[in-house]
């Protein structure tokens, strides 16, 4: 059985030198990063982490059933989360942040080694338990990094899709949607929905889809564009696609996709002229 009192006491007792050993190990492993973090703060926060860890060990199971999802580990997880955020903001890599936690192993092992010959102390299992705990905490720190990055990626993706599909009212009954950047299926879907919504709200009879800024498309996206045009027609509007790149024209033909009843024009000007004409409008040059 791992001896949790021994472990917890070793962590709380200042004379065992675990804190000093940890800080020394941190700088030896090159994960201390006193270049970006304040020296006194590192010491203070390391000390607090050890204290919180000792509390958690006191209250939780540390044998094979160790599970840091249990509530006893919440304080240390909260602390580590804050620590990981602080370190990430300081530009410290996830490997270094995990290394910072793992560096704690060495002083803990040194401390336990002193008891290996003592009567009634299961040093091997206590050592294993401490190793398990520290590993779990290091993994948790890594995960915090990943979660934060995932959240950032998700937010940026959302912002990008929102930013990239504005529907512009060009004229009465004419809307245009300029597309920029590579279209993936999700964005293509978004474009479809936005354009069809705009046809309703703006009572547009003509919807111009300008894909000048789209470098390439795949089968799914090409089909999606065609679906958009077909759906617009069913709603009583006409879809005009303009700015098709030579490459995209080749892809569409090679993929064997038909463009039935879809008006295509070389550029936005051509599309506008077509829409004006169909809407019974004409452009007249001013007399000089």
């Amino acid at each position: 059985m791992p001896n949790k009192e021994l472990l917890a006491e070793g962590l709380t007792d200042n004379h065992t030198g675990i804190l000093e050993g940890w800080i020394a190990a941190q700088s030896r492993e090159g994960v201390k990063r006193s270049d970006v973090l304040d020296e006194d703060e590192i010491r203070e926060r390391s000390k607090r982490l050890i204290a919180i860890l000792a509390d958690a060990i006191h209250s939780a199971d540390i044998d094979e059933s160790l599970d840091i999802e249990e509530s006893g580990w919440d304080p240390i997880k909260n602390f580590l989360r804050a620590e990981a955020e602080k370190r990430e903001d300081a530009g410290i890599s996830p490997t270094e942040a995990a290394g910072y936690i793992i560096a704690l192993k060495e002083p803990v092992f040194d401390y336990l080694r002193k008891y290996q010959d003592s009567e009634g102390v299961d040093t091997v299992n206590t050592l294993l338990a401490s190793s398990r705990i520290i590993d779990q905490l290091a993994i948790f720190t890594m995960e915090t990094y990943l979660e934060r990055r995932d959240a950032i990626i998700r937010r940026q993706q959302r912002e990008m899709t929102e930013l990239s599909t504005p529907v512009i009212q060009v004229w009465d009954r004419i809307v245009a949607l300029p597309l920029i950047g590579t279209l993936d299926s999700e964005r293509a879907q978004m474009v479809m929905e936005n354009l069809l919504e705009a046809i309703i709200t703006k009572e547009a009879e003509f919807a111009i889809l300008d894909i000048t800024g789209v470098p390439t498309v795949d089968t799914l996206v090409a089909q999606n564009l065609i679906k958009t045009a077909s759906a617009a027609r069913l709603m009583g509007a006409q879809c005009i696609i303009c700015g098709i790149k030579p490459k995209i024209a080749q892809i569409i033909v090679q993929l064997g996709i038909d463009l039935p009843d879809i008006i295509t024009r070389g550029d936005l000007q051509g599309a506008l002229v077509y829409a004006f004409d169909k809407a019974g409008l004409s452009l007249v040059a001013k007399a000089q």
Binding site: M192, E193, L196, E197, I199, I200, E203, A204, E205, K227, S230, A231, A232, R233, L234, M235, G236, A237, P260, D261
Partner: protein, 128 residues
């Protein structure tokens, strides 16, 4: 303007001058479709009719059955020499029909009743 309401009033058929306006909603089912078809065709021949406008803006659920029904209604009216325009299709309905592969290519569509009526009037002003 004369108006005839079908007995179950799931589908309304209205006459506006020489056009017939049909409104379709979600509660449409097999039996009401048959009733609507007979109501509409009878109304078209009852008085001189130039156009039929089928308003489906109340319809937000669609399947192949409804899609086929729209196509059939349009075809029947056309046989009776009335120009047929489907109006007010919602984006979700349009997407679903396209996803189901029902492009309904020979169906004339317009944004709303106003647009459709104007188009029918313009066409008749130009002469037969």
């Amino acid at each position: 303007m004369t108006t005839s309401y079908p007995s179950n009033s799931k589908v309304g058929t209205f006459r506006i001058r020489d056009c017939v306006l049909v409104t379709v909603n979600n509660e449409i089912d097999d039996s009401s479709v048959l009733e609507m078809e007979s109501n509409l065709t009878e109304e078209i021949v009852r008085l001189p009719t130039r156009g039929v406008v089928i308003d489906i803006s109340q319809l937000d659920i669609v399947d192949t059955f409804t899609g086929r029904m729209l196509g059939a209604l349009a075809k029947m009216s056309r046989i009776l020499d009335a120009r047929t325009v489907v109006v007010g299709m919602r984006p979700a309905v349009a997407i679903t029909l396209v996803e189901l592969g029902m492009n309904l290519n020979d169906l004339e569509t317009a944004l709303n009743v106003d647009h459709a009526m104007r188009r029918i009037e313009e066409a008749s002003a130009e002469g037969p």
